[in-house]
Structures are given as structure tokens and as C-alpha cells.
Symmetry: C2
Subunit: 386 residues, 2 copies
């Protein structure tokens, strides 16, 4: 085992030729999982934290993103001395199954071979679930020789993975921190995802999902999907504070409807969000991952009883919501807290006052930082690590 770890780190991915039997019934093989680690695994292998990324996140948690050149998406949270302290903890972040940053997904060669000449899966990629994602992550954790994770932490779809980790592998998760998430995807969120998908399907460059054959990408559809989603990540207060009704000269010069040759700043911002996104994300991955989110429902195998997956759990939970998050509102976090209470779980629940909306978990929120630091420190004391 010890010999393979450096090799894995060097390649930043690990291949499982035996693959994975997916929930849909399909056997996907091989399965490759791309990952990054931060900090040092202790000799007792007891200080590992898995951080799960959200819909459009990836494993580049705390180092420079290889495509955008920007700091990792949680570099303000994960690092030496930071709330998720890499001087103390060994942090693993893995690209989800179905993703497009190295883990097996719609862009992977269908043959799975090393030749690279085989065509990609595209929309033939089997549907995956949040549980499939977690099971792929567990393969890596097992390979690293880690028998118990100190903690699993994640926001939004990352929080769904945290819950699935705790429900599927209760003995492997000492502490769990689901942030800005829900025990099931709501009708409204399914609706938003469906509009995203329809925007991609509507783009002629989608070519039925086989855009690579035409050397095309459905950039306009994917940009529309991202723009819409981006609104849902913010709050009315945040948009008003950042942009209000301010106008600027139309930098695109292409708006035939402009009243005075101007556009609203919020429009310009959204267009930028849309166009920069398409350079780093694959449309078929977007379709696959949004579908996985839609299918997420912890109660589905238990007649809707959300407490059942957690009966007998010894995991310590800390649920976090943000007051202005309307995509994963506090009411859904509270539903989760009540379910865990019914399961007699060890659970704390914190609603952070913030006007930044769903994205607050990625932004500068000192109360949130303190909550993460405090929960992990307290749990570490109980786990007698560090």
C-alpha cells in the first residue's frame, strides 16, 4: 500500500479495473477517480477528512485550478491554520463519478483503454447516483488504507454526498458536516435543473450529445444553464447589494433592445459567468450530475422516512444552513435535523445569518468559519486524534 500512494499522488488519479456495479444495474469498468490530497496522513491513518465538491466543483480544493489558474474553490477554508487545518488533518478531495476533471464520466473513452482513440461515452454514459459517487470515493479511501474517516464535509451536492457517506458507511464516518444541503432534492430544484438541461438540449451544437464528433461544444446552452443556476446560488439581497439597477455601456455591443446603449451590470456579470464556465465544464457531465442530484432522496427506500438511514448511527453530525439560501433553505436542513433527532443521532444544527445566498458556504463568512473550526476541533478531541 505504502508504495502505491506516491504513485497515486503523482498521477492524481487511481484506476479500478474491476469497476463498480452502479445503482441503475450497469457495471461500469474500469472506474477512474481523480483526486487531490492536502496535509499528511497520520501514522494511525486516523486524521483523514473527505471533502465532497458541489455540482460544478472539482478536486482542486485548495490549490491553483489547472484550467482557470484561479485559487481552489475552498482555498480560504482548507490549508495550514485554516478551519480545515492541513497541519492537523489529511484532506482528500475527489472529482465525482460522472464529472469531467479526470474521474470516469461522459467524456471518458468508452473502451476505458489507454490508447485514447476510443470515442467518449457521451450520453451513453450510464446514469449515476449520489450513492454511486460515494461508492467510487470509498474505493479510493480503501486503497489509501484508511479504515475510518475522521470526517466527511461538503456543501450543496457535496452535502448530499456527506449524507450518503454517513448512511451507507456509518462505521467509516466519525463526524459528518452537511452544509447548505437537503435530505432530498426538492421539486423546485428539480425544475431548475430540468430547465438547465433543456437549455443544453436546445443548443444545436449539442448534436444529441455527440458534439465531439463535430468538434463543437454546446457553449450557448451550457452558458444559459449556468447563468440561470448562478441566480439561484445568490440571493436577492446579494444581487441588489452587488449590482442593484446600475447600468454600464454595453461591452458586447450586441444588444438591439438597449434603451440607451446600456445594459444592466447584473446582465454583464451573468454573461461573464456563463461564458467562463463553458471553458472548464463538459455539457454531458452537467446533464449527468444534475440528474444524480434530482434522484437524491434519502427516504426513497424507506417510505419517505428520512430517519431510517441513520438508525443506530454513531456519527456526530453538524448541519449548517444559511439564512438567505433559497435553493437549499433552512427549512430543508431543519427537516434533516429532525430526522437525525428521531434516529437518536448526535446532531447539532447551525443556521448562519448571511445575505449571500446559497454560495455563502464558498464565501467570506466568519461565523461559518468558526462553526467549521469548532465542530472539527471538538470532534477531534472526542476522536482523540491530533
Amino acid at each position: 500500500m505504502d508504495q502505491t500512494v506516491p504513485a497515486l499522488l503523482q498521477h492524481e488519479c487511481v484506476v479500478f479495473p474491476e469497476g463498480l456495479h452502479l445503482e441503475c444495474g450497469f457495471h461500469l469498468a474500469p472506474v477512474q477517480v481523480a483526486y487531490r490530497t492536502y496535509g499528511t496522513l497520520s501514522a494511525a491513518r486516523d486524521n483523514a477528512i473527505v471533502v465532497c465538491h458541489a455540482l460544478t466543483g472539482d478536486q482542486y480544493l485548495a490549490d491553483t485550478h489547472p484550467l482557470t489558474g484561479k485559487p481552489g474553490w475552498w482555498s480560504r477554508m482548507v490549508g495550514p491554520g485554516l478551519p480545515i487545518d492541513t497541519d492537523r488533518f489529511f484532506v482528500i478531495c475527489m472529482n465525482v463519478l460522472g464529472g469531467c476533471m479526470g474521474s470516469t464520466g461522459p467524456r471518458s473513452p468508452r473502451s476505458g483503454g489507454e490508447g485514447g482513440s476510443a470515442e467518449p461515452w457521451g450520453t451513453d454514459f450510464p446514469p449515476v447516483t449520489i450513492r454511486d459517487m460515494v461508492r467510487a470515493q470509498k474505493l479510493v479511501v480503501d486503497r489509501l488504507g484508511i479504515r475510518r474517516l475522521f470526517a466527511v464535509v461538503g456543501g450543496s451536492m457535496g452535502g448530499m454526498q456527506v449524507l450518503e457517506w454517513a448512511a451507507t458507511y456509518p462505521d467509516m464516518v466519525f463526524a459528518a458536516m452537511p452544509i447548505a444541503t437537503s435530505p432530498f432534492h426538492s421539486a423546485q430544484n428539480i425544475a431548475f435543473n430540468e430547465v438547465s438541461r433543456q437549455a443544453i438540449f436546445a443548443d444545436p451544437d449539442w448534436h444529441g450529445g455527440r458534439y465531439w464528433e463535430r468538434d463543437a461544444v454546446p457553449a450557448r446552452g451550457l452558458a444559459v444553464a449556468r447563468m440561470m443556476a448562478h441566480i439561484t446560488y445568490l440571493s436577492e439581497e446579494a444581487l441588489t447589494r452587488k449590482f442593484g439597477r446600475r447600468v454600464r455601456r454595453d461591452p458586447y455591443g450586441d444588444n438591439p433592445l438597449s434603451l440607451f446603449g446600456e445594459m444592466f451590470e447584473v446582465e454583464s456579470y451573468l454573461r461573464h459567468q456563463g461564458s467562463s464556465f463553458v471553458h472548464r465544464f463538459d455539457a454531458n457531465s452537467y446533464l449527468t450530475i444534475t440528474r444524480a442530484m434530482d434522484y437524491f432522496d434519502l427516504g426513497t427506500e424507506h417510505d419517505g422516512d428520512l430517519s431510517r438511514p441513520f438508525h443506530g448511527t454513531r456519527t456526530r453530525f453538524c448541519i449548517v444552513s444559511f439564512s438567505s439560501d433559497w435553493l437549499f433553505p433552512t427549512s430543508q436542513a431543519r427537516m434533516l435535523a429532525r430526522a437525525l433527532n428521531r434516529a437518536a443521532a448526535n446532531v447539532s444544527f447551525v443556521e448562519i445569518e448571511s445575505d449571500k445566498g446559497h454560495d455563502a458556504f464558498l464565501l467570506d463568512e466568519p461565523d461559518f468559519d468558526r462553526t467549521v473550526r469548532g465542530f472539527l476541533s471538538g470532534a477531534a478531541e472526542h476522536a482523540r486524534i491530533g
Copy 2:
């Protein structure tokens, strides 16, 4: 005057060859306004109510829609014995300037001639504002020989027109009922509108707005725009109650991502909303009207002071909001109420408890019906009509 009214009713529109000088500086001529009336204008011409329609509404308020064959959009509110009682009031509803149901808009022939061979305005149609819409409506009201409207009533963008009527022609409006609306369009709402527009622009069948030349309509882009907008018209509660996470067999049979050959009911519903909409609405009108909404801001000429347009007003206002409306939330209605209070206006403000979201003003809400009926009856008593 009396001779022209039947002719107008027969044609259901009135043409103003002299046209209108728009706020953008463009002189639009001729201007045609399509309208429907319900009830009978009293001999004193003192019982007229203008009902203003929302973004995708039209003048077919209370009779069968000529395109969809469905009842008018407010047929449950307007009619004999109904809250807006046509046994008592003469109701006028006009298609907005920029619309696509008979009033001058992007689909109108550019020449304005009767020949009909001239090509449509398309995206060369000048940008219009909510005030331009109201000024076009006033031409019709003048033509009908009505010197003072008993009331102006409308929801959503219709409510913006109500406010603009009261601000621009204070002596012509005895009572005003702005419903589910705001004194300015918020950054979040501008953002949603911008995504709608980008979805239309992204459709290759848009052809730069000249789709009629290719015998095409940007149906996919317009459907995506409508689907997204439709989510904003509802509430999470309403979506959960109507659809929850229920699935059904995929009636489209075209979903490569389906996990079990099923789709969520909310997806099927949204697709239906999108596809039925494109048969009755013009994409360039959608662009023009959303832009008019975005530019709406009562404070714009008054350093942001929303009370200034109403100083000295004698109009009686009744502002209505709905508790679950997150597109035009109660907070915005309250801002309007405060502005009217500062202007020492006669104003009442009612928040209706409802879980139906923004669309509540179109749906069965007995408390809302009572509010409309009560306000109009009380105002009619003060106006000594009926």
C-alpha cells in the same frame, strides 16, 4: 364618438395614424392598440376600469382566447357578479405596446400600411417602456371619450402599468390597485429576464431576430425562457404540493439520462408549459416586453425617491401582495406602500396569505377576491358611481 365605438369593438383595435413619441426618442407611427371591453360604459362615462395585463397576458381577459381556446386569463375575476363586476363596471383591457396580439409590436409591418406585404419590425422595433405602454392605452381611453377612469387594476407587469397610470395621469385615475408588483424591477428579476433573453438569442432559429425570413420560430429558446419564468411564478410549496418528487413514465421517450425510464412530473409539466407557450407568443415581443419591465423604476427621475411621482395625488390606492410570492415579494410592495405614505396618499396595503407564489393573483384565492371586490365597492361609493 358614439359611431366609432361599435366599429372599434368590431375590429377590436384602434389605429392612431399620428402615432406616439416614445421615451427612447423614436417617433412610432402609426400606433395600433388591440383591446377588448366587457360591460357597458355608463352614460356619465364614469364606470370604466382599465385592467392591465402581465408579461405574457393579453386583452382576452374574460372571453375565450382566440389562439388557445381557453377561458380568458382573468375570467374568474371579471364578469357579471364577479369581483370586477361587469354588471356595474365597464372594463377595458388592451394588448400592450410591443405585444403580439394586435397592438403595434415587433411583429407589426414596418411600413404600417394596410397591404401587409411590408416586413415586420423584428428587433428593429424601438425599445418601449412601461410609460410608453400606458401612453398608448391613454390614446384609447381618450378616444372612448372617458375623461376619468374609475380604476386601473393589474398584477405583475400589469401592476407596473397601474403605478405608471397613477403617476403619469393622476387626475385620470380615481382608484388604483397594483397587485403582486414592485415600484422598480429588482436586480434578481432583471437577471432572470436576461437569462430568458439569452436562451432566445442562443436558439439558431432566432436568426438574429429575423426568423420570419426563414419561416422559423425560435421555439426551443422561447420554451426554455418560459420554463424558467414559470418556476419563478410558483412557489416551492406550490411545486411540492402539485408534484413533489413523483415520477411518471417518460412521455417524450427522449431522455437519455433517465435512471429507470421515468421522469419527474414537474419536468413533464414544465415541458408542456414551454411548448404550449411558443404557439401563442412571439419571441421578439418577449424580448421587447421583458426589457420594458427591466427599465421600470418609478424613482429613476427622482434620485430614487419613490414617493415623488405621487406627491399631491388624490388617487386611492390598494396594494396587494402574496406571502409566498418571491418574484415580487411583500418587501417590495411594502416599499411602495411606504413611498405612498410619504406622499400622503390614500393607501391601503394587504398581504394575502397564500402558498401559490406569484401566480396567486390568477388563481383561486378567496381572500384576494374579497379584497378586490371590497376595494372597488368602497371606492365606487366614494366616487358615487353605480
